[in-house]
């Protein structure tokens, strides 16, 4: 594996690192706002993966100049452009859910929500027989 391979794959590896940080935040953190931010990081890493694949060395932005030029692939750009706005709309939906959860449970920590649910279903923790 030579230097060209490492340089040629570096983008994808960094994308994977970002993706895994996002995943780790979603899996390991209990705070719902933090989870939404983690999802956003994950989402951005997917965007970067697509755009990295669309890049051509020595290419330029796919807006015609009238001169013969190499253009980078416009298709990933189209897919990701719409995905970003959809992403913010769905983030807003997620945050709205967080606000309602706060109204209903008075907390946005996953563990505490779970505890409240358990209490409702099985009675409070002291009543539960081992």
């Amino acid at each position: 594996m030579g230097t060209t391979d490492i340089l040629g794959l570096f983008n994808y590896w960094m994308v994977i690192v970002l993706m895994m940080i996002g995943l780790y935040i979603v899996v390991s953190r209990g705070n719902l706002v933090k989870k939404v931010v983690g999802l956003n990081i994950f989402q951005t890493s997917v965007f970067l993966l697509y755009i990295s694949m669309g890049k051509i060395s020595g290419g330029t932005a796919p807006i015609l100049t009238g001169k013969p030029e190499v253009y980078s692939n416009p298709l990933p750009h189209v897919l990701i452009l719409t995905a970003i706005v959809v992403g913010v709309a769905t983030t807003a939906l997620g945050l709205a859910l967080v606000v309602r959860i706060k109204n209903a449970y008075d907390t946005i920590e996953e563990d505490e929500i779970q505890a409240v649910d358990d209490d409702d279903e099985f009675g409070s923790a002291e009543d539960v027989q081992p």
Binding site: I41, K55, L75, I84, V85, V88, A89
Partner: protein
């Protein structure tokens, strides 16, 4: 190592550092600030990777709207993340193994920037070669977005529409109605008020430029919609939500949310009526190119309408909530 790959690597490393900082910090306010920096960095990287239209969208979204929404959520919930109580070992192992599997998968990928990679040989050459003659506009991304893949975009706009309705369903019932009491706005911030007044005009003008210049440069309905909404949000922030609601009533915005999608779908129906396929704009004008131009203009306008209306009504929904009375220390 060339300058290009130096910039590329530096920005990616910065992104990694920012993401790691987001992971480490437990003050949620700092997390929000860092996520806005994350967005700035990714916009820079996108410009570097030739995706100017995408960078434009990321800039429009990341510069204001997402920070505002996150802050609104923090204002309504809490500002501190509690210390994690459960063991962190299992998630770490899962994430590490997944990452390794993905890295193994990349070994077979075409190298970065390889012009002969399979992605570049399928439909992309057709778009690049035929846009000038079939659609007649320089920005290939807009041509593909609104015309070649118009169906796709209709779907995306519908998703945004649905998400907007979802937010209104979740929060709408809790929006505080005007109470007639004295509304406290940023009265005493004279500098802010003056600068905001100066800026709102250019922002609206710039949104219109982005909306209608999208055929020639980076831009289009998605970006313009977000920028347009940003102007109203800045007004509501500085001059008070009540005054913003007087200028643009919530009910009118909710109507516009639907109007945009209706306009998009309606253009498709018109091309039906002319005996063509759905969303084939060629019949709308005297020549194919003229028809495409008109069709794309209308469709992009519909997109812009829906996006800006969804953003504004989302902001109204978040900002109109009663803030919880909390003396939590932050």
């Amino acid at each position: 190592m060339s300058v290009e790959s130096f910039i590329d690597i530096t920005l990616l490393v910065f992104l990694g550092l920012t993401a790691f900082a987001i992971l480490k910090l437990r003050a949620l306010f700092a997390v929000v600030m860092l996520s806005s920096v994350f967005s700035l960095l990714s916009a820079g990287l996108l410009v570097h990777l030739d995706a100017v239209d995408v960078a434009f969208t990321e800039a429009a979204v990341g510069a204001g709207i997402s920070t505002v929404l996150m802050l609104a959520t923090l204002a309504l919930t809490s500002r501190r993340e509690k210390a994690p109580t459960r063991t962190q070992a299992l998630p770490l192992i899962v994430v590490f193994l997944t990452g390794m599997a993905l890295v193994y998968g990349t070994l077979d990928m075409p190298r970065f920037g390889d012009a002969s990679a399979p992605v570049h040989n399928h439909v992309a050459p057709k778009y690049i070669n035929d846009t000038a003659s079939e659609i007649g506009m320089p920005n290939i991304v807009t041509a593909v977005l609104a015309s070649y893949r118009g169906f796709d975009t209709l779907g995306e706009v519908t998703v945004i529409f649905t998400a907007g309705i979802g937010v209104l369903l979740l929060l709408g019932a809790y929006i505080r109605e005007p109470t007639g009491l004295r509304v406290q706005t940023m009265d005493h911030h004279l500098v802010l008020r003056v600068v905001t007044k100066v800026l709102i005009g250019p922002i609206l003008l710039f949104a219109l430029y982005v909306q209608f210049h999208g055929d020639y440069g980076p831009g289009g309905g998605f970006q313009a919609g977000v920028i347009f909404a940003a102007a109203f949000i800045i007004y509501a922030l500085v001059f008070g939500l009540e005054n913003a609601r007087k200028a643009v009533p919530g009910s009118a915005v909710r109507m516009l949310v639907a109007c945009g999608v209706l306009l998009y779908g309606g253009v498709g129906v018109v091309s039906f009526a002319f005996g063509q396929n759905y969303l084939n704009y060629s019949v709308l004008g005297a020549s194919q190119v003229a028809g495409q131009h008109l069709g794309i203009l209308l469709v992009e306008f519909g997109v812009g309408l829906t996006v800006s209306a969804v953003m504004v009504s989302t902001f109204y929904a978040f900002a109109g909530q009663n803030p919880p009375i909390s003396d939590e220390d932050w």
